[in-house]
C-alpha cells in the first residue's frame, strides 16, 4: 500500500500532476485537509483517537468502494469521492453530538437532574411522536375530509347548475322550433285567408280556380285545395296530385272538417300519411255570412328541414310528435318511413300528460329514447296544434364535461391528500429516527 503524495509530510498539494497521480493511489489514511477540518470542528488534538477512528473508517470505506467498483480510473475517483463524503458525514455526526448534545448531557448529569433530563427528553420525543400520529394525521385527515365534502358539494351544485343551464338552452331551441312551426301554419292560414274573404265564393269559376292556383304557388306546402259550398258540397278542387274537378258533388256536410270550420272558423285536422309523407287538413270558413269553407291539404314535409336545422351538441337531435304521440318530423328519414308511435316513450308520455299550453318543463334524463341510450330531454308545445317539439341530448355527451371536471377535481384532491399524508409520515419518521438522543 502506497501513501498518497498529499498525505506525505512536507509534500502537500503542490501541483495538478501530483493530484492526478494521487487519483490512482490507494489511500493509506484520510486526506490531511479533511482531518484538519475535522480537528478544527471537534476542537480535537492531533492525537485524538476520534480522528484516528474517522481515518480508519475512511480507509475501510475506500476499500469497500473499490471492491464494489473496481480499480479503473473512474472507479478510483468514485471511491475517493464516496470515502470523502462518508468521512464528512461521519465527522458532522460526531461534531453534532460532541459540541451540541454531549455538553447538555454533562450539565444535566448532576444527581437526579440526569433522570429528569432523560425523562424530559423522552417525554418530548414521545409527545412529538404522539402529536404526529394522533394529532397531525387526524387533523390532516379532518381538513382533507372537509375539503372533500366541500368539493363534493361544489361539484354537486355545479352539476345541477350546468344541467339546468343546458336544459334551459335546449328548451329555448325547442321553443324556437315550436314558434317556427306555429309561424309556418300562420303563414299558410294567412295565404288561405284571402280565398275566404266575404263574397269570394261568388266570383266566377275561372277567377276562383286562378286564385287557388296562385295560392298553391305562394304556399308550396299546400298540395290540394277545395272549395266547399254552404251545403257541404264540393264546388271546386285544385290539386297538384290529380286532375282538377268542378262541382264533383262530393258531400262534406257530415265531415268533421266542414262542421268544425263552420263552427270555429278554422279547423286543423289530424296528421295523416301518404306513403311516408305527413299531411294535414286545414279548413277555414269563408268570411261574412257563412257561405262555404276552403279545405286545404298541407304537406308537413317542410317542417323536416326546420327540425333538421336544430343543432344540439354533437349527437343531439330534435323531433316533433303530434298530440297523440305519433312522430311527425325527425332528422332520420328511415325512422320517419316507419311512422312510429312514440307515446310509449317516458318523456313523450310525460309531455302528453301535461295539458297543452303549459310551458316547457325542466329537462330530465330518461332511460329510453329513439336512439337507445339515456337522454336529457326537454320539450315545448305548439299551442295551436297541441304538438310537442322535443330536443334531446344523450346523457353521455351532456355529462362528459361534468365527469371530466369531477375527475380532475378528485384527482387533485387525492394528490393533495397523498402529499399531506406522506409529509406527515416523513415528519413522524424523522422524529422517530431522532430517538438516539435518548442515550
Amino acid at each position: 500500500m502506497r501513501a498518497r503524495e498529499s498525505d506525505m509530510p512536507g509534500m502537500g498539494f503542490h501541483t495538478i500532476a501530483a493530484a492526478w497521480r494521487n487519483l490512482w493511489l490507494v489511500p493509506g489514511r484520510a486526506p490531511r485537509p479533511l482531518e484538519r477540518l475535522a480537528a478544527i470542528c471537534l476542537r480535537a488534538e492531533a492525537e485524538d483517537s476520534r480522528l484516528g477512528d474517522l481515518s480508519e473508517k475512511y480507509v475501510r470505506m475506500h476499500e469497500r468502494a473499490r471492491m464494489g467498483l473496481g480499480t479503473g480510473p473512474g472507479a478510483m475517483a468514485a471511491s475517493h469521492l464516496a470515502a470523502d463524503l462518508h468521512y464528512l458525514v461521519a465527522t458532522a455526526n460526531v461534531v453534532l453530538f460532541a459540541r451540541a448534545i454531549d455538553p447538555c448531557l454533562r450539565r444535566a448529569e448532576n444527581g437526579t437532574s440526569a433522570f429528569i433530563a432523560l425523562d424530559l427528553r423522552e417525554g418530548i420525543m414521545t409527545m412529538l411522536r404522539v402529536a404526529t400520529g394522533r394529532l397531525v394525521l387526524p387533523t390532516l385527515l379532518l381538513l382533507s375530509s372537509i375539503l372533500l365534502i366541500n368539493s363534493a358539494v361544489d361539484v354537486w351544485y355545479t352539476w345541477r347548475q350546468t344541467e339546468a343551464l343546458m336544459a334551459r338552452l335546449h328548451r329555448d331551441k325547442a321553443e324556437t322550433t315550436a314558434t317556427l312551426i306555429e309561424q309556418f301554419f300562420k303563414g299558410v292560414q294567412s295565404q288561405i285567408g284571402w280565398t275566404t274573404t266575404a263574397g269570394w265564393a261568388a266570383r266566377p269559376l275561372e277567377q276562383r280556380r286562378f286564385d287557388y292556383l296562385r295560392l298553391m304557388r305562394l304556399a308550396p306546402a299546400i298540395t290540394e285545395v277545395a272549395q266547399l259550398a254552404v251545403d257541404g258540397k264540393e264546388a271546386l278542387r285544385v290539386s297538384r296530385l290529380r286532375m282538377d274537378t268542378v262541382d264533383s258533388g262530393a258531400d262534406f256536410a257530415g265531415d268533421v272538417r266542414f262542421i268544425e270550420a263552420r263552427d270555429r272558423r278554422a279547423h286543423f285536422g289530424p296528421v295523416y300519411f301518404r306513403k311516408a309523407d305527413p299531411y294535414m287538413s286545414l279548413a277555414m270558413a269563408h268570411g261574412g255570412m257563412p257561405d262555404g269553407v276552403t279545405l286545404a291539404e298541407v304537406s308537413l314535409k317542410p317542417l323536416w328541414d326546420t327540425v333538421r336545422a336544430v343543432e344540439v351538441g354533437q349527437t343531439g337531435y330534435a323531433y316533433v310528435v303530434d298530440s297523440k304521440g305519433r312522430l311527425i318530423a325527425h332528422r332520420d328519414d328511415s325512422l320517419m318511413s316507419r311512422q312510429p308511435d312514440l307515446s310509449s316513450l317516458s318523456q313523450v308520455a310525460a309531455a302528453l300528460g301535461s295539458p297543452p299550453g303549459v310551458g316547457p318543463i325542466e329537462g330530465k334524463a330518461v332511460d329510453s329514447s329513439l336512439s337507445g341510450p339515456s337522454v336529457m330531454s326537454v320539450y315545448a308545445v305548439v299551442p295551436t296544434l297541441g304538438w310537442r317539439v322535443f330536443v334531446e341530448l344523450p346523457l353521455a355527451e351532456a355529462r362528459a364535461s361534468l365527469w371530466s371536471a369531477l375527475i380532475r377535481g378528485l384527482g387533485l384532491l387525492g394528490l393533495g391528500l397523498a402529499a399531506a399524508v406522506l409529509a406527515s409520515l416523513l415528519a413522524s419518521r424523522r422524529i422517530t429516527l431522532a430517538r438516539p438522543v435518548r442515550a
Binding site: 482531518e35 484516528g52 474517522l54 481515518s55 475501510r60 460526531v94 453530538f97 438516539p436 442515550a439
Partner: protein
Amino acid sequence: MLTAHEQLVMLAIARCGRHAYALSIQEEIETHGPALTLGVLYTVLGRLERRHLIRHREGDPAPERGDRPRRYYALTGIGAQELQAALRILDSLRAGAYARPRV
C-alpha cells in the same frame, strides 16, 4: 440505571473483549441490530466512563489511523455488576411477559 444504548454498548464491549475500540464496538452492535452512529457511540462511551462503568487504555499507533493509537475499552467491576443487574431485570421481565398462564 442503564439506558438501552448503554446496555448495547456495554454488551458489545464485553463481546469484543480486549479488542473493543470505537469501530469494533460499532460493528458488533451493527451485526446484531440497528447501527449506532459514531456521534451517539462517543456520547455513550463518555457517559459510561464518567460513571466509572468502563475504562480505556491506549493501544499502539496504526498507519491507517494517521499514526494515532486506538482507544480500547473494557468494563469495570462496577460496570459488569450494573450490566448483569440490568440484564437480570430484563430477563425476568421477559420471562414473565412470555410465560403461558397456568390452567
